[in-house]
Amino acid sequence: MFWKSTYNEFIKIAAKPRSYIGLGAITVLVGVILFAMKVDGLAYISFITASFEQTLSFQGNVLNGNLMAFIVLQTLIIQVPLLVALVTGDLVSGEAAMGSLRMLATKPISRTKLLLSKFLAGNIYTLVILLWLGVMAIGFGRLLFGTGDLMILKSEGLVILQSTDVMWRFLSGFVIAYLALVTIATLSVTLSCFTDNSIGPIVTTMAIIILFTIIGTLDVPVFDSIRPLLFTTHMASWRSFFDDPVPKQQIANSVIVLLIHIVSLLGIALYKFNKKDILS
């Protein structure tokens, strides 16, 4: 029954027009970035490398697909949670608003399985969004700009990674980014269990992300103790795979914090959904 219900949920996601907003938005955004880089990329690179030109000589294709993929991911990873929440925040509350949740809940599937199937389908959708982002960023980036060593400007200095050393970093980074997006999906599904309003959980999810991001970036001591506990602090951990050496302990901490968030939020969602009086 669980797998059949998950299949149902995925069919519903696939049939909803809003599910394609994310894919469309990623296509357009990546397209815009790649177009801009194709036209003005060299000027952009010169601006970044200007401060190093007296001490370093840059040879080869600096403006390559790997750099494009990194720029695209760094730029869009902030927007992707919104695209995910747009669908996952609607999974329970949207059905409650529509009345179909009432019909589902009169079927002989337990509420726990029903919610978990929605959660799983939401995570599959999240994976599809992320994979599309990967295909667009890495695939099209390499197609248009070719490959080459990846040069990243960080606060500590310039990191240069050989082209043969890049792909595993992208793949590992995607795993962490996926975990971060699953945290967002879980948060929005949980909020979705508390209301019968379709928009509320989506807006609230974004408000929480913005609030936590502001707390995370405000460099004031009062937030020092809570900053490491916020999931938003760990959402950018995928970038750590592009450090040399890779800070394994820091990444492991991020994974643990994100997993704790997922499990806790899912627990709250299951409790609420099982106790919920379905009145819509």
């Binding site: 029954m1 299949y7 069919i11 027009p17 009345g99 179909s100 079927k107 002989p108 599937i109 379905i278």
Partner: protein, 303 residues
């Protein structure tokens, strides 16, 4: 009429300070078309929601198919098909896809041919590929009936299935319900706030008002034709009252409006009274009769 399929005892449901259901008890037996009658806001939908585990009762017990609902939810719901309030389908999916979705989690294996058979049964053949968002309310209601019987349930619960339908739509739904009863031997619980609707279909019923079950029994017995509340519109009400009181000794008699007399009397006495009044020179302008329970229910509704 021996197997008890539904047993609701002293059901109570409170939402915060509001007590939606106070004390509802009734039984439904195998093969019944059971009328669940009450005015709007009486607690019918809340009771039905509790029977389907959509809401948790504050107190009281609900047993279906001889088992406690709380501990046997999956088993019980696999034997029930229902429409609560109105069938809310996925507007962006076709009728067929909607039925497939509900069939997958119905607890039984439902074949594609079964889905098409039911689409034909409810008169939607040829529209199965259309999105439900393009359906009229009546068509959605018929699709709702198909959804309730997808998995061949033993008990069908229909909550106000005629709400929002035009007269022809109501007749169509009524005929479908009768077909379910007569051709497919289903036990049906049908809620309504319209007495005549229940009277046309149900063999047993319960009346609930203000969250309490008032009376339950056989429809034919409860709506006894022999005991009526009769109103006579006459030109001399005082004289007519005296004549009727002397010759027929009705249970009660009163003048309810200027020229209107009302009293309880047996159905067979109406022509005799009419003749008696005419013989005594009293003009009769109109006669109206209501069954006791009908009168009681109309007062409940009007209140």
């Amino acid at each position: 009429m021996s197997d008890k399929i539904v047993e609701v005892k002293h059901l109570e449901k409170q939402f915060g300070k509001i007590r939606a259901v106070e004390d509802v008890s009734f039984d439904v037996y195998k093969g019944d078309v059971f009328g669940f009658l009450g005015p709007n806001g009486a607690g019918k939908s809340t009771t039905i929601r509790a029977m389907l585990s959509l809401i948790a009762p504050t107190s009281g017990t609900i047993r279906l198919f001889g088992k406690e609902l709380r501990n046997n939810r999956g088993f019980i719901l696999s034997k029930i098909g229902c429409i609560v309030e109105k069938p809310d389908f996925y507007q962006y999916l076709s009728a067929e896809k909607n039925l497939e979705i509900f069939a997958r989690i119905s607890g039984s294996s439902v074949s594609s041919s079964r889905i098409h058979e039911l689409i034909e049964f409810v008169g939607l053949k040829g529209r199965e590929k259309d999105k439900v968002g393009h359906f009229s309310h009546g068509m959605k209601q018929r699709l709702g009936i198909a959804q309730t019987i997808l998995h061949d349930p033993d008990l069908i619960i229909l909550d106000e299935p005629n709400t929002g339908l035009d007269p022809q739509g109501s007749i169509d739904i009524r005929n479908l319900i009768l077909q379910l009863k007569n051709e497919r031997n289903k036990t049906i619980l049908l809620s309504s706030h319209i007495l005549s609707e229940i009277e046309l279909i149900a063999n047993r019923m319960v009346i609930i008002a203000k969250g309490k079950s008032i009376i339950q029994g056989n429809v034919s017995e409860l709506l006894n034709e022999q005991e009526l509340i009769v109103s006579f519109e006459v030109d001399q009400p005082q004289k007519a009252r005296q004549i009727i009181s002397t010759n027929f000794s009705p249970e009660t008699i009163g003048i309810i409006e200027n020229n209107m007399l009302q009293f309880h009397i047996a159905h067979k006495d109406i022509p005799k009274i009419n003749q008696h009044l005419l013989d005594n020179g009293i003009k009769v302008f109109g006669i109206d009769s209501k069954r006791k329970l009908e009168d009681y229910f109309l007062k409940l509704v009007s209140n």
